[in-house]
């Protein structure tokens, strides 16, 4: 006969089963499809590891992987650094702080698609307001998302603009947990602002920085909406990340098996990135 704990465990089975189905069935199905050649017309044909062999030799896919990593690094570092700066400003008390904090958080409240559409209009090389404003200062117009040279940097800039407030919010929460006595002691010892930041604020913020970095990394590596709406991966393939390439294969070329193989690779990449960050966080916790 089951004890009370065992009986309670049985109550969780339907919920766990449902979550398991939702989480794993699509992945098992996708992994299965990656061993087939299927283009929606006709029956799928088993090809073994052929799709993975193609993946290894596919130059365009390799470029998309590198681009995804660059895009992710930029989209994590930018918001994290600026968010840290913003948190250092907003942690102090000054007139109008609340109103400014609210205004500062607006970008992250908007949906990425609407953000993308607004930026597309603003970045139009001839009619966009951004080049118009630059002309006031005698700065020549930029092609922004319309050039292979500037597109990735521009997209990272927009990601940074949108997600800096969230990073600032997380870090601000972290800063409020640092005991005030530590800052008082630093002041009594005559520590400068930079010394206080290096010796107290930053070390105690590291766990929060890591949490923010994990969240941002997982979000940035999966990013598709912003890029899809603004550039569709172009010009050429200059902003084509793994997600965009996967999408093209699945829904433009109808190459379902190959797209599934890319999906499996992509899941592995996200998993590894998350694992690495969690490992760093755990190591830091032990060291602390």
């Amino acid at each position: 006969m089951l004890n009370k704990r065992g009986q309670l465990m049985w109550l969780a089975v339907p919920a766990l089963g449902t979550i398991g189905l939702i989480l794993f069935v699509p992945w098992v199905f996708t992994a299965g499809l990656s061993f087939f050649e299927w283009r929606f017309t006709g029956a799928p044909g088993f090809v073994g590891l052929q799709n993975y062999a193609t993946l290894v030799q596919d130059k365009r896919f390799g470029e998309a992987v590198v681009r995804t990593l660059v895009y992710t690094a930029g989209s994590v570092a930018g918001p994290l650094l600026l968010g840290l700066g913003a948190a250092l400003v907003f942690v102090r008390d000054f007139p109008g702080r609340q109103a400014l904090r609210l205004a500062f958080s607006f970008p992250m409240l908007a949906t990425p698609v609407s953000v993308a559409l607004v930026w597309v209009m603003m970045l139009h090389p001839q009619s966009g307001v951004l080049n118009h404003m630059l002309s006031w200062f005698g700065i020549p117009p930029s092609a922004w998302i319309y050039s292979q040279r500037t597109v990735l940097a521009t997209l990272i800039g927009i990601e940074t603009w949108q997600w800096t407030p969230l990073m600032a919010l997380i870090l601000l929460g972290g800063m409020t947990t640092i005991p005030e006595e530590l800052f008082e002691a630093a002041r009594i010892d005559g520590a400068s602002a930079v010394q206080t930041f290096r010796a107290i604020t930053f070390p105690l913020l590291v766990p929060y920085l890591l949490v923010a970095a994990i969240l941002r990394t997982i979000d940035a590596v999966k990013s598709i909406d912003l890029i899809f709406v603004m550039t569709s991966g172009g010009p050429g393939t200059a902003s084509e990340t793994i997600n965009l390439y996967l999408y093209s294969n699945a829904f433009a070329f109808y190459n379902v098996g190959y797209a599934s193989a890319i999906s499996v690779f992509f899941l592995g990449l996200v998993f590894l990135l998350a694992l690495a960050l969690v490992w760093v966080k755990a190591r830091h916790a032990v060291a602390a």
Binding site: R39, F40, T41, G42, H124, P125, Q126, S127, P141, S142, A143, W144, I145, Y146, S147, Q148, R149, V151, T231, S232, G233, G234, P235, G236, T237, S248, F251, A252, F253, Y254
Partner: protein, 441 residues
């Protein structure tokens, strides 16, 4: 009890109706309305969102009153509609009875999937029951355009989109040049208009990958050449390279900054603001160009046939059509929707509203329609001449989207300064195995 005195039972009535419906001639002789045969049925329609779908949706009550059929209509953006349609067809149980496709892009795909039913028997039956439908109004070329390689009529064409050369009359007059009749004259005129310091550019066209391919292939038609003939890629010929070079030259020397990322939306924005002298694209953009709410150049838009190339004068033809799903359980009722949507009334409405170019010939031959066109006589003359010289700008192959993607990337690279010959060679090498695999399938 005489026959008149006997009460008519429900079964007797149904038997009579079924008998009448089974013989169209009898039904017509007895005055039975072929449009009412499926009254009470329900038909689901999946459309790409466009001015055509808006126009049809605005008149759906008319269809329901005409046929007694209950309509469920869904119009979603092109890209999403294509995905939804393919995925649902592949599932074997689509949620719709009727769908529309882009003929140039999807015809071979739907043919291979066997997803649409052959409309010919239903078209013939309707023509016999109601001659006012005027099936002969669709020219043999139009019927062939909507038909598979085996002759089955997959879709009835709804709208034909010819590529034309839009020009800014004011800028061209200022340059003191006539409307270009050849690509050489076009280059000269674009150069004369081009004043980047004043934010005015001689030329604008699609530069974004995939979307840019028809610009190149339309220019290539000026050499009388297509991209694939008899299953063989013709994308590295001297003509193909020259067309890509011309495309790159027009865009790089006379186009605005960032043209490599332009789709038609950005081109339209530049053109309606009076910042571009010429724009090569589908004739369907006349409506926004002449809309005072959206355009600064109303009344200044000129329409010209695509200029003659070195050896030939052709233009590109795109089009969309409507078909009935093979898996539909209401094929005949669904066909009535196709027939209504492509009927004379709706095709005339489309022309009058500037929502597209009818696939039927009679609305175009109607003198009243020509006089009433919201875009002027030049637009109509350009349309009729373009219809005479139109060709398909895309190869009739299943992986047409991959073709557009791979060659689109090459053309985008040309706009960024890459060598056209090397880019086309690379793209051809990348696409050849895709084409070979597709032909083997």
């Amino acid at each position: 009890m005489s026959l008149q005195e006997r009460p008519v039972g429900r079964r007797t009535m149904l038997a009579c109706m079924a008998g009448a419906a089974a013989v169209p001639g009898t039904a017509r002789a007895q005055g039975a309305d072929p449009w009412k045969r499926h009254a009470g049925a329900r038909v689901s329609v999946l459309f790409q969102k466009s001015p055509r779908s808006d126009l049809l949706a605005a008149n759906h009550r008319e269809f329901e009153e005409l046929t007694g059929i209950k309509l469920a209509f869904e119009a979603i953006p092109e890209q999403q509609q294509r995905q939804k349609m393919v995925v649902e067809f592949a599932s074997g149980a689509p949620s719709f009875d009727v769908a529309n496709i882009s003929i140039a892009v999807q015809k071979r795909l739907v043919e291979r999937g066997g997803w649409f039913t052959d409309l010919r028997p239903m078209l013939a039956a309707l023509e016999a029951a109601d001659p006012a439908f005027k099936a002969a109004d669709f020219s043999p070329a139009t019927i062939a355009y909507g038909s598979s390689g085996k002759g089955a009529l997959e879709v009835l064409p709804l709208n034909l989109d010819y590529w034309v050369l839009y020009y800014n009359k004011e800028l061209l007059e200022r340059a003191g040049l006539p409307v270009p009749q050849s690509t050489e004259e076009l280059v000269r005129a674009a150069a004369a208009i081009h004043k980047p310091a004043a934010n005015v550019y001689g030329w604008v066209c699609r530069g974004q990958k995939n979307a840019n391919v028809p610009v190149w292939t339309t220019l290539l038609l000026g050499w009388g050449q297509e991209t694939i003939r008899d299953g063989r890629l013709l994308t590295t010929t001297p003509e193909a390279v020259e067309a890509a070079r011309l495309y790159g030259r027009l865009a790089r020397e006379f186009g605005p900054t960032g043209l490599a990322g332009f789709n038609w939306g950005e081109c339209q924005t530049s053109f309606v603001q009076g910042r571009a002298g010429f724009w090569l694209d589908g004739i369907g953009f006349a409506a926004p160009l002449e809309d005072p709410k959206r355009s600064r150049i109303v009344g200044k838009v000129g329409y010209a046939v695509v200029p003659r190339g070195p050896t030939a004068r052709h233009t590109a033809l795109f089009g969309d059509g409507i078909g009935v799903a093979q898996a539909s359980r209401n094929k005949e009722a669904a066909f009535l929707y196709v027939a209504w949507a492509t009927g004379v009334l709706n095709q005339s409405r489309m022309l009058k509203a500037g929502a597209g170019v009818p696939a039927r010939t009679s609305p175009l031959q109607d003198p009243a329609a020509q006089a009433d066109t919201p875009f002027g006589r030049e637009w109509f003359a350009t349309l009729l001449e373009s219809a005479r010289i139109a060709r398909s700008p895309l190869p009739q192959v299943v992986p047409v989207t991959e073709f557009r993607d791979i060659f689109g990337v090459a053309l985008s690279n040309v706009l960024e300064g890459a060598d056209p010959k090397a880019e086309l060679a690379r793209a051809t090498e990348a696409f050849q195995p895709v084409l070979d695999a597709s032909e083997r399938a």
